[in-house]
């Protein structure tokens, strides 16, 4: 198995990297909520532009994340195609008007409203992409649990997240080892076998993986228990940093964007910005 392309923490000197994990987490959550709530094209475009500017500041290059962007593009394309195939005139319903551009074939017409709906749904997804990618690429994983604890998540949950991040490479290595060992014994997972055989073959990899993981859980939890994990109500974090001026500015900015987003979206009682009426 080739190494899976995964987005990682990329260390570079930049303003975005200097912000604490807490700030970036809050920013990311505010951004996701804002994009989920609204269907207003103007706001979505603004968010996309701001996201692009932050991306410039972060020193992360397009090259670093090109694989991920490609995946996102495929996903979006498929999603849009599916929507169109199922409901070619959904936009007409949504925006309560109909501007026919081409009559197309049968029910598959092309209307301005449908295209506008596709534009909005695409914007909704891609305006979060830069912020989400930056959140992963610019946050030191070891700082992440501290940030979760900072915004009020119980430290046990925070610790679970950092354990997950810590053990992903281990589990991945183990998966590769087991899978190669089983392939050497003639177990095939590529598309050649029948579906049921393939499922059964995957058990040959999963069972050792699950059993060794269970053993690991035993070892790690014993080690943590011996060191008194979970005895106190609170816990301090080595990587936790104080919020500086820039952090407060960034948090303030995210809150303002979210507030504008909510106001504009719910001002006239409709989520949709409708240029057709």
């Amino acid at each position: 198995m080739a190494r899976v392309a995964i987005l990682n923490y990329i260390k570079r000197p930049s303003l975005v990297h200097e912000l604490t994990g807490t700030t970036k987490l809050i920013f990311f959550i505010a951004w996701s909520v804002a994009s989920m709530v609204t269907f207003d094209t103007r706001i979505l475009v603004c968010m996309l532009v701001i996201g692009a500017v932050i991306f410039r500041i972060s020193q992360i290059r397009i090259r670093d994340i090109s694989v991920v962007l490609g995946l996102a593009a495929v996903f979006l394309l498929l999603n849009n195609i599916f929507i169109y195939l199922f409901t070619p005139e959904y936009g007409v319903e949504l925006y309560e008007s109909r501007t026919l551009l081409f009559s197309g074939v049968g029910r598959y017409t092309v209307t301005a409203q449908q295209l506008f709906y596709h534009l909005n749904i695409t914007l909704k997804v891609i305006c979060v992409v830069p912020v989400a990618l930056l959140f992963i690429a610019c946050t030191d994983p070891s700082e992440f649990a501290a940030s979760l604890a900072r915004i009020g998540v119980s430290y046990r949950a925070g610790y679970a997240v950092s354990l997950a991040l810590r053990y992903i490479p281990d589990v991945q290595r183990e998966y590769t080892n087991i899978s190669q060992a089983q392939q050497a014994r003639g177990i095939d997972l590529s598309g050649k076998d029948k579906l049921f055989t393939r499922l059964k073959n995957s058990v040959a990899i999963l069972l050792p993986l699950v059993l060794s993981s269970l053993k690991r859980i035993e070892t790690v939890s014993n080690a943590m228990e011996l060191r008194g994990f979970g005895k106190e109500k609170k816990r301090t974090w080595y990587t936790q940093r104080r919020l500086e001026r820039n952090d407060w500015l960034a948090i303030g900015f995210a809150v303002v964007v979210l507030a504008i987003d909510l106001t504009v979206t719910f001002w006239d009682g409709s989520r949709y910005y409708n240029p057709f009426l």
């Binding site: 995964i6 997240v161 354990l163 997950a164 992903i168 999963l206």
Partner: protein, 180 residues
């Protein structure tokens, strides 16, 4: 809220890591552009072994990590993943797989996972998608149904085999026999 035990914390962490890795390796399925989602089988097994809270958090953290490292998080499906863990965890509470497994327990596990997947992909995910993304209902339910069927088959076959395999490795109470 009851405090999470140390063991659950670790089980969640490593379970989420497993969920993530399995979600990233692609095992092609018969339908083009879709993969067999083995992570749900493992989530189901962990929910059975460590309870509903572990199930929920494994699904949530694991799926969020998968999405966040590939494109932006698609929250409705993340919540549906967490929901799967919750339902299976609740329905298999006190099943004590450690004490051996019989066909009654396997049926319970499978009924639980079928209900969980049908509710999660047929109801939770599409409804949230309508609320958040206002996507057309027809598309969402077709998509949800496909996901539900695929996940039920994977969890049913792989999850059941995993549980059976696990139960075999545990030494049962009173398994020693007196020699004559």
């Amino acid at each position: 809220m009851k405090k999470l035990s140390v063991k659950s914390v670790v089980a969640i962490g490593i379970g989420a890591a497993l969920f993530f890795v399995l979600g990233k390796v692609a095992i092609p399925s018969p339908v083009p552009n879709t993969n067999i989602s083995l992570q749900y089988a493992v989530e189901a097994v962990f929910a059975t072994l460590f309870g509903p809270i572990a199930g929920v958090v494994i699904g949530f953290i694991g799926h969020t990590l998968i999405d966040a490292t590939s494109y932006g998080p698609w929250w409705s499906w993340i919540i549906a993943s967490a929901f799967v863990g919750l339902v299976i965890g609740l329905a298999t509470m006190k099943m004590n797989v450690e004490e051996g497994i019989d066909s009654k327990k396997l049926i319970r596990f499978n009924v639980a996972q079928i209900i969980a997947h049908v509710l999660a992909w047929g109801l939770v995910a599409p409804v949230l998608d309508i609320l958040i993304y206002a996507e057309p209902v027809e598309k969402l339910f077709a998509q949800g149904l496909m996901a539900a069927v695929a996940n039920i088959i994977t969890t049913g076959v792989v999850g059941t085999l995993l549980l059976l395999g696990y139960a075999k490795t545990v030494v049962k109470k009173g398994s020693l026999e007196k020699e004559d």
